[in-house]
Structures are given as structure tokens and as C-alpha cells.
């Protein structure tokens, strides 16, 4: 190997290394740490409660949705979506600090809803095909994960299924076409 080719190789390796470092910083491709999720369980709880708040029926917080989200993101998702989720937690808190000068959890309900709306509007295109491609290439966005996991976690929890929805454990018979009673909630199992 000549001196010149060695220098080229070293230079090349250096550039590739820098690129990788940049990518690593950008994507946040560190070893995934479930501990970070647990440390932020309060933030996750608050986020879920914004999606499904307590009304005349229990909200996401009471239904224990945060634990479900931490369990699925922490142990069941592919690395790409895990990283997206953790990055999303950081981003939303950062955004809250910049905009309202306080942590997300310290904001009012109106402020919280407005922040999540902003995140949702940012990631979803008017063109379904673009959303589809985005999802295929990059997995679900943070806000999509948050929303889907909250809905799943709530509607399949005991409180969500029995108090938020109507739960029929063993129906025993089938009534094919009956009047909808006022205030009828949807079946938890449809």
C-alpha cells in the first residue's frame, strides 16, 4: 500500500465516521433504554390523558394506559418505532419548554391539546398515499403511536372496556336488530 492510498483510506474512513456520527445524533440510534420510558411514565400518562381524558367515564390515566404503552413500546416494538417514540417524548417536552416556558406536564389542558394537534397536523399529509409511504419507510410517527396505543390500551383495559365502552363477556344469545338506547356506548368487543 502506498502512502497516498493510505491517506485516502484514512480520509475516507474519517468522512464515513463523521457521517455515521451525524446520523447517530440525528436519528438518536443509541441503545434503546426502557428505563427512559419508565422515568418518563408521568409524561406518558399525561399525554395519554390528553388523548382520552376523564369525563363521565374514566380517562386513560385511571385506566392504566401508560403502563400498557411502556410495555408495548419497551418490549414489543421494532427498534425504529421505539426510537421514534423516545425522540417524540423529548421533542414534545422541548416544544412545551420553548412555547410555554414549562414542562408539558405543567401545561393546561388547552395548551396540551393544542400541542398534540400541532404534532398531528405536522405528520399527516392531505394525501393518503404520502402517509402510507411515510409509514412504510419510517414506521409510525410518534403521534400516531401515542394515539393508537392509547386507544388500544384504553379500550382493552378493564375500566375502558366496562365503563367507557359496553362489555358483554358472555352474551348467551344474539339479538340481531334492536333499538339503540339513549347514550348507548359501543361494544368493547364488536
Amino acid at each position: 500500500m502506498t502512502r497516498r492510498t493510505s491517506i485516502k483510506l484514512l480520509l475516507g474512513a474519517g468522512i464515513i465516521g463523521m457521517l455515521l456520527f451525524w446520523l447517530y445524533r440525528r436519528v438518536g440510534y443509541s441503545v434503546f433504554d426502557i428505563g427512559y420510558l419508565k422515568e418518563n411514565s408521568h409524561l406518558i400518562e399525561e399525554l395519554a390523558e390528553v388523548v382520552i381524558p376523564e369525563t363521565d367515564s374514566p380517562g386513560a390515566k385511571q385506566a392504566g394506559v401508560a403502563a400498557y404503552i411502556i410495555q408495548i413500546v419497551g418490549t414489543g416494538e421494532l427498534r425504529q418505532e421505539q426510537v421514534t417514540f423516545v425522540r417524540g417524548l423529548r421533542q414534545i417536552d422541548g416544544f412545551s419548554q420553548r412555547t410555554y416556558n414549562r414542562a408539558f406536564t405543567a401545561c393546561s389542558t388547552r395548551e396540551k391539546v393544542s400541542m398534540l394537534n400541532r404534532f398531528e397536523n405536522k405528520v399527516s399529509s392531505r394525501f393518503p398515499i404520502i402517509n402510507k409511504i411515510n409509514r412504510k419507510l419510517f414506521g409510525r410517527s410518534f403521534i400516531e403511536q401515542l394515539k393508537e396505543l392509547t386507544v388500544e390500551g384504553y379500550c382493552t383495559s378493564m375500566l375502558g372496556a366496562t365503563k367507557g365502552l359496553a362489555y358483554d363477556y358472555i352474551p348467551g344469545r344474539f339479538e340481531a336488530c334492536i333499538p339503540l338506547s339513549p347514550g348507548q356506548r359501543a361494544w368493547a368487543l364488536n
Binding site: E148, C155, D168, P171, G172, F174, I178, L180, Q184, A188
Partner: protein, 566 residues
């Protein structure tokens, strides 16, 4: 020998051996035992005892770690089986990495290796074939003629339906003969609306409730259905038919059955001198040892692809290319219904109506194309529609609801608009080059050559799929649906889980593997009565026909044994 059940466990000689305890093998065991044969029933998987081994049957979603879902990580490690199962029922499906097969072209081979096989998780639809189906190959010069007609099978359909318990409605259609039915389940409001629309707008088609092996009243100490619609977990009420709930208990009750789980049949032993099969060689998956068992007759009911793999692997001087493969047809003509295309729509009416209970089936629009009279299409054969009407629930609504908070929650938890989803279940023609082969190189953990599958739907199926979309959209439009969307999921073969063919019945030993009573042409004491025997695929869900063929073949086999012809 782990977990052998029955009296004759120390014996190696039986009157009959049945390979596979799924929907057809269970029937073979029941029939042979009830006719007095000491029968060994082999299954490659673990034993699943009715009720007590349905471990998730009574679980609420919140009782399960992942609430019943497959996580993305689980889907990645089980790419095929996870398409058909989830946390509630995956104990009845294999793990993909433990049971590899080769997909020369994409093909979903769904498997349940346990006592009862896939009868635990089947779709339970029970439709008779008619001569429109049995005579089609002959009429069109496709493949070979079926060696039987409806009249040969009619009383056996009666026989098995009376035992299974099938709920459904007689409709007096020549292309879909009526059977022995328990009271039908009811259509809901939107389905009734569709049915009456079809009645007034079309003279060639109807909409009827699915005919299913779910019991609308108690039947033979089973059921009735509790309308939980959680059948695939195993039903602690015995609300639907499975080998585990019905045929195997009947077989055991005779005292003639020995059930040996954990038994992978590696080959059928053929005696060149006696010119018949004498028994089977198995590998016990627990102690890893080989065993041999012997019997006068052998029923092969391992499921379409597995049965053909066993026959292909049973090589002898007389049959160097696989047992009974004089014709060269063994492993060819693999079929599966396509069910990828259809349409979906929502309806603005009936806002003040709902339902209670979860009916474990949908509706059926029987085949209306290429009948004796009526429309003549560019494609051969035809399809039926299977579908379901319901009010959208939270699972359907979530992805289309924007926003957060009170309004979002309110919309999410309220019954959505009525919707109908329907897809065409279409006939697949038998093509010689849709094949199941054994790999020359790869072997599974038992040393058995790995199965290699090459399958594609072809022009006739593609034409039919387009037609399905058009007719589905038109019917929904006529019924006043809004936001109608045609779809074609383009699922690969195997996805309907109606694998058929590869050891077809026929009149001529030169062009088929089995004769008119499911005997291997050249090995008369071997019977094949699972889906591999099918000469064409019809568009009806096929299990009922396998069961009828099995009962009929058992009747023939025992009569022949009595006459000392076997």
C-alpha cells in the same frame, strides 16, 4: 412414549392407522373405531384436551400481557402464522422458525400442529358442492374429471351434517344444495337491508346467513353457542364442531382408539412382495426415537400439503417417486381459493338500531355467475360473496378520527355508522405447475426433507377478481351505501387456508393418484381423504366435503375388509 391415550398403547399392530387428527382425520378415527376397528390415531403435535386445554378461552383482554394483540416484534419473528393468529389463539398455530418450508413463490402455509389440528381454529363454514362443481372439469376439458357426482356424496353430506350440527337456512338453490340444518342465525339490520335489495334488484342472486358448524341449540351434548365469537381459542361450551369436541371423544368412547401425539410420520412402509402398505414409520418428537406401527389400512389425513409430503417421502423400489405416484401427478395441481378482492361501504341509515351478542359468522351471497342459466362470463367457474355487516366500533373508527380530548373520546366510544364488508371467495383452477415438492437439500429437525411450494393465481383468477370488485361495488351502490371502496389485498396463495389438490381423485390411474373412493390407485389399503384428494376447488369452503368423503371412504374400507378384499 409421551402422552399416549387409549387402551392399546403397548401394541404395534392395529386394524387401522390414521395419520393426522384434524377435521378429516378425526372423522376417519371416529368412523373406523365405531365400525369396530382398533385404530391408532397419530398426530405430530401435542395433545389438546377439549375444554381443559383451552387456556385463553375465558380471558378478558386485560388478562393478557399484550391485550390479545401481536406486537410488531412478534409479527417480525412469525411472519406467516401471525397473519392468522394473535395472543388469544397462537397456541394452536406453529412457530414459523420451528417448522420451516420453502416459498419458491410467496405462499402462506398455515399450520396447527396438535390434536385436532386446524379444526380448532377453522372458519366453520359448511357448504355442499353440487354437480355444477363436480362436472365442471369434464364439461370444460380442464384437468381430469371427478370420478364422483353429487348423488355419490349426498347421503354422506346428510350423515356428517347430522353429527356436526350445522346452523343455516335452506334456500333451494341448485348450485348450493340444502342440508340438514339447525335453526339459522339471524341477519342484522344492514344485512337484512342488503338481502331485500338483492331480492328486488336482481333475479339471479340472494343473500343468506352463513351455514356454520356453530350450534344454535344443544346438540349431542355440545353447545349451544354463547355468541362470544371467540371460537379460535377453543370453545369451553363446545359451541362449534372440532375434532377435539366431537369426533375424537366419540372415537375414544368406543374403546378402540389409541391416540399418539408427538408422532411425526416420516413415511408409509410399502411391502414390494405383498404389494401393499404395511404400516408407518414415525419419529417421536419427545424421545427423538423412531418407531414403526402396522395396520391393515392406512388413512392419510395430515392436511393437503403435509399428506403429499408424506407420500412423496415414502419411496420404495416399486414407487421411486413417492407412494402411489405412477401418474406423476402427486404434488401437482395445488389450489387455494382467492378471497382478496371485494368492496366495502358505509350506510347512513338505521342510526337508531344496534345488536347485542357477537354472531360467530357473516352472510353468504351464493355463486350467481356461469350457472346453468343466467350470466355467462369471460372467466370459467365462479365465486360466492362472504361478508359481514356491522356498526363501526372503536377499532374501525380510531384511525379516521382526528384530534384529541373530549370530542375524540365521545366519537370513539359511540357506535359508528353501519358498514358492509364483502369479498369474493373464488374458484382456483387446477394448474399442473402449482406444485408441492420435497427439497433435495434442506431437512427439518426430524430429518424429513423440507416442503417447497410453488404457487400462483393465473389469468382466470385475476379476471374473476376484477369482476368481484365490480359486482360488489354495484350491489353496495344499489343498496344506498356511501364511501364505497373496492379492494384487492393481493394475498398470496394459502391465505384463504383452503389448500386443495396435489393427490387428486380421478377415473384413470394414469392421470390421477386416487380412485373414486379415495384409495391410492395402486395401493388399495391406503386412503387419502383430506384436501389433497380434490380434483377441482369449487368456490365453497371445502371442509364439509372432506368430512363427507372421509365417512364414505371409511364405509367402503370397512366393507372391503369384511369381504377380505383389503
Amino acid at each position: 412414549m409421551a402422552g399416549v391415550i387409549g387402551k392399546a398403547m403397548d401394541t404395534i399392530r392395529y386394524d387401522a392407522i390414521v395419520i393426522g387428527s384434524g377435521i378429516s382425520g378425526g372423522w376417519a378415527a371416529k368412523e373406523l373405531c365405531e365400525k369396530g376397528l382398533r385404530t391408532l390415531l397419530l398426530d405430530r403435535g401435542r395433545h389438546v384436551e377439549h375444554v381443559q386445554d383451552y387456556t385463553t378461552a375465558m380471558s378478558n383482554s386485560w388478562d393478557m400481557p399484550n391485550r390479545g394483540y401481536n406486537t410488531p416484534l412478534y409479527r417480525q419473528s412469525n411472519p406467516v402464522q401471525s397473519l392468522f393468529s394473535n395472543e388469544t389463539d397462537r397456541q394452536f398455530f406453529v412457530a414459523d422458525d420451528e417448522h420451516p418450508y420453502i416459498q419458491e413463490t410467496p405462499f402462506n402455509w398455515v399450520r396447527g400442529y396438535q390434536t385436532g389440528g386446524r379444526s380448532l381454529v377453522w372458519g366453520r363454514q359448511c357448504y355442499r358442492w353440487s354437480d355444477l362443481d363436480f362436472a365442471a372439469n369434464e364439461k370444460e376439458g380442464v384437468a381430469v374429471d371427478w370420478p364422483i357426482r353429487y348423488r355419490d356424496l349426498e347421503r354422506w353430506y346428510d350423515y356428517v351434517e347430522r353429527f356436526i350440527g350445522v346452523s343455516g337456512k335452506a334456500e333451494h338453490l341448485p348450485q348450493l344444495p340444502d342440508g340438514q340444518y339447525l335453526p339459522a342465525m339471524e341477519l342484522n339490520c344492514i344485512e337484512e337491508h342488503m338481502a331485500s335489495t338483492l331480492k328486488t334488484r336482481y333475479d339471479d342472486r340472494i343473500l343468506t346467513i352463513a351455514r356454520v358448524a356453530n350450534l344454535t341449540r344443544g346438540w349431542k351434548h355440545r353447545g349451544p353457542c354463547m355468541y362470544r365469537n371467540q371460537c379460535s381459542r377453543g370453545c369451553p361450551f363446545g359451541g362449534y364442531f372440532s375434532s377435539n369436541s366431537a369426533t375424537i371423544p366419540s372415537a375414544l368412547a368406543t374403546g378402540n382408539l389409541t391416540l399418539r401425539p408427538f408422532s411425526v410420520v416420516t413415511e408409509i412402509i410399502y411391502d414390494d412382495r405383498l404389494k401393499k402398505a404395511t404400516g408407518v414409520r414415525i419419529t417421536d418428537t419427545v424421545d427423538k426415537k423412531q418407531y414403526e406401527y402396522f395396520a391393515r389400512v392406512i388413512f392419510v389425513n395430515a392436511s393437503t400439503i403435509a399428506t403429499t409430503a408424506i407420500l412423496l417421502n415414502s419411496k420404495s423400489a416399486r414407487f421411486p417417486d413417492g407412494l402411489g405416484n405412477d401418474s406423476g401427478q402427486l404434488g401437482h395441481n395445488l389450489m387455494d381459493h382467492h378471497s382478496s378482492s371485494g368492496a366495502y361501504g358505509t350506510h347512513e341509515g338505521f342510526q337508531d338500531r344496534y345488536y347485542k351478542g357477537r354472531r360467530p359468522c357473516g352472510f353468504l351471497i351464493p355463486r350467481f355467475q356461469n350457472l346453468e342459466k343466467g350470466s355467462v362470463e369471460k372467466f370459467l367457474r365462479g365465486y360466492n360473496f362472504q361478508g359481514e355487516g356491522k356498526r363501526l366500533g372503536w377499532e374501525d373508527q380510531a384511525s379516521s378520527l382526528r384530534g384529541f380530548g373530549k370530542t375524540f373520546k365521545q366519537q370513539l366510544l359511540t357506535p359508528g355508522p353501519w358498514s358492509v364488508w364483502m369479498a369474493g371467495w373464488g374458484e382456483c383452477l387446477p394448474y399442473f405447475d402449482n406444485t408441492v415438492k420435497l427439497s433435495i437439500v434442506h431437512k427439518d429437525q426430524w430429518g424429513v426433507p423440507t416442503v417447497s411450494i410453488n404457487f400462483s393465481f393465473k389469468e382466470n383468477e385475476q379476471m374473476m377478481k376484477k369482476h368481484i370488485q365490480t359486482t360488489a361495488v354495484e350491489m353496495l351502490e344499489n343498496a344506498g351505501f356511501k364511501r364505497i371502496e373496492p379492494f384487492d389485498y393481493q394475498h398470496p396463495g394459502g391465505t384463504t387456508v383452503h389448500e386443495m389438490g396435489t393427490a387428486r381423485m380421478g377415473r384413470d390411474s394414469k392421470t390421477s393418484v386416487l380412485n373414486d373412493v379415495n384409495q391410492v390407485h395402486a395401493v388399495k389399503n391406503v386412503f387419502v381423504t383430506d384436501g389433497s384428494c380434490m380434483t377441482s376447488s369449487g368456490c365453497q369452503n371445502p371442509s364439509l366435503t372432506y368430512m363427507a368423503l372421509t365417512a364414505r371412504a371409511c364405509h367402503f374400507a370397512v366393507n372391503s375388509m369384511k369381504k377380505n378384499e383389503l
